[in-house]
Amino acid sequence: MLYRINTILKLSPQHQLIKNIRFMGTTTHKAASIEDSTRIDPFNLEEFNVSEVVREIHAELKKESAKSELTELSKYYFDGGGKMVRPIISMCTAHAYNCHTNISDPLVYQKQRQVALISEMIHTASLVHDDILDRAETRRGKQSINTKWSLQKSTIAGDFILGVSSKMLAKIDNPDVIQILSQVLADLVEGEFQQLSTIEDESERFEQYLSKSFNKTASLMAYSCKANACLSGASQQEVNNCFQYGRNVGISFQLVDDLLDFVASADQLGKPAAGSDLKLGLATAPVLFAARQYPHLNDLIQRRFVQQGDVEQAFQLVVDSDGLVKTKNLAQKHIAEAVKALETLTDSKYKQGLVTICDKVLNRLK
């Protein structure tokens, strides 16, 4: 890992920045030491069987699509090329809370696994509709669904994935879980609309950004964690703690995403980079922080960087300012909150896994 970072670092000031940010310090854990947590890597755990997740989703979609074109359409984004962060967080949470409440009923775990699948499907359905809205041309290094097929077919592909996931949700046979996960889709849509609008009042902008980040990213993680804690029979307090874990990890995830948009290169990310949020007119944390140092940025934010030279100017100002550092600090703060939420949880290798996830979210390169 270190060697790889160094080879990249030779390249440019932006990449020098990556080094500074990466080594600013990893999280301090009260629950486990860093060496302990790196032993359990949830992203490599056999039992989570992430490739199985993809296969199972394919099977559910195929079952409902009756050999129509919907099979190919709906499976398109479930190609195993995604990070699978959500299902992993979901399943790790499930195991951790099952250890805590001492549940070993395989039926419970079955349902929790369904929650993981459903969360991934809701997420992907919204990506499909997202790409239509943003007129995206690529995703994960390949042609976007709306470019490969018509807008009509992409719309119904998204609807189909939602429809199948709602049937799966019904089968879980738990109205609380259904209520919890239904909130996710509502939040995703609200987040999308928030992203499309620009707040006039500068002082409200950061709050709006955090609210949007919750809705677009953290909501899904938070609610799927909550649903799984619920299924494990945990107490209300513990269920709420689990929600806070998911929420803080999610917000941190988005902050790091927005940070990487400024510093990582396109090949690593798999989607257009270096200011692509700016090009979409989006003012994310680094920009909002930078605007406090360079108030002139507020005008550019207000007009969503449409004028000639706006994107370049904003990009430069962000790099010159302490915006990136502040973003990383905020991400760290949320991760610390996430770890804190796990305090009262019984120790287990899965709890350590949840801590490792925090580490990975904070220090990822893509």
Binding site: I132, I178, Q179, S182, V189, E190
Partner: protein
């Protein structure tokens, strides 16, 4: 040729108009409880459509009983429904949010609200059958199912209008014209998300499972509409299947859900499903018929729209028997110049009567399924609904 046929379809539209005029005018109640119930119109002359209604009711031996307009009976239920829907959609959104305006745009109370009416009537009718009329909690849940059915329907309208590039609906600009198609997609998703929460609130596993079937059916229907069955002899069945998916499925499952809630037996719940299924198919058949005979102002959306969208519906499919060359036009989805006009003429000449007859058969089938249900005001209303669905003009 057109001129010679004018008396024929004037006759059909005339019949439709006189029946609906009676229904839409304020005189509905008097008309039906007085002379109307005996097959005579308010002007004292024999009205063929009332005779049909009488026949329907006659099969239930109810011809002496007055039938009331559903919108009057359910007035209390319906009056607050749209404000409740608004409340559910707006509850978590900020006051001036664009999403709020988009999501509530089609819930303007101007639609027919047919689905909630059907769901509520089935609910009440089955409650009367199982002696649960006084169960307030039960009625509340059935009302929730009715609200859900209207919301799922509207969410699908939003996506439909985007897919069809529609410009108007119910006499005003469509949601995708006022805002953008892409944003409208999300508005539709939002309505579905809120629906999903409401479905969970019914707290009844069977109901939740039944209603969750609707979404995938809707998508299948949409996809079927985009494609053409290659085999000509499969086309009609395909059209009926698509009509089930796109229209009847929602009605069928919400009827079944409300029967389940009332505590009816499995067989009775299946009958409720079949009522919804057949009235839904009848409704779609008449919808497709009206696309050929009604004017745009009356419908609130463009007329002859189906052909322009490349869709071959019942009137055209029936017309194929007399005009087999239509099959080729169907295969190419009326894409060549003159196709739409030719298909229109053929359908007007020979597809309409059979479509109406089929609609009547399905309505009858719907009502026959309720034969085993105890008589009540709501059961009679369900019969009246069957009649209204087949004789409406918009």
């Amino acid at each position: 040729m057109r001129r010679a046929l004018q008396p024929l379809y004037r006759g059909i539209t005339g019949a439709i108009q006189s029946a609906s005029h009676a229904q839409t005018s304020g005189q509905t109640v008097r008309y039906l409880t007085g002379a109307g119930a005996k097959g005579v119109g308010s002007d004292g002359k024999q009205d063929p459509t009332i005779h049909t209604q009488k026949r329907l009711i006659g099969s239930q031996a109810l011809e002496e009983e007055p039938v009331l307009s559903p919108s009057l009976i359910l007035e209390t239920d319906l009056r607050t429904m749209f404000s409740e829907i608004h409340m559910e959609l707006e509850s978590e959104l900020s006051k001036d949010s664009e999403l709020k305006n988009m999501a509530t745009y089609y819930f303007d109370g101007k639609g027919k609200a047919l689905r909630p009416v059907i769901a509520l009537c089935i609910g009440h009718a089955f409650n009367a059958h199982t002696n649960q009329e006084k169960n307030a909690d039960l009625v509340k849940k059935q009302r929730l199912v009715a609200i859900i059915s209207e919301m799922i329907h509207t969410a699908s309208l939003i996506h439909d209008d985007i897919l069809d590039h529609a410009e108007t609906r119910r006499g005003r600009a469509s949601v995708n014209t006022v805002w953008t198609p892409a944003k409208s997609t999300f508005a539709g998703d939002y309505v579905l998300a809120v629906c999903s929460k409401l479905i969970a609130r019914t707290n009844n596993q069977e109901v939740i499972t039944l209603l969750s079937n609707v979404l995938t059916d809707l998508v299948h229907g949409e996809l079927m509409q985009m494609q053409n069955k290659k085999e000509e002899d499969e086309r009609f069945q395909d059209y009926i299947d698509k009509s089930f998916n796109k229209t009847a499925s929602l009605m069928a499952y919400s009827c079944q859900a409300n029967a389940v809630l009332s505590g009816a037996t499995k067989e009775e719940c299946n009958s409720a499903f079949k009522y919804g299924k057949h009235i839904g198919i009848s409704f779609q058949l008449v919808d497709d018929l009206l696309d050929f005979v009604s004017s745009a102002d009356l419908l609130g959306k463009p007329a002859a729209a189906d052909l322009q969208l490349g869709l071959a519906t019942a009137p055209v499919l029936f017309a194929c028997k007399k005009f087999p060359e239509l099959n080729q036009l169907i295969s190419r989805r009326f894409s060549e110049p003159g196709d739409v006009e030719y298909a229109y003429e053929c359908a007007i000449k020979s597809g309409l009567e059979e479509t109406r007859e089929l609609a009547r058969n399905h309505s009858q089938e719907a009502m026959d399924n309720l034969a085993g249900i105890k008589d009540s005001l709501f059961k009679r209303t369900l019969a009246h609904l069957c009649h209204t669905v087949t004789t409406r003009i918009k």
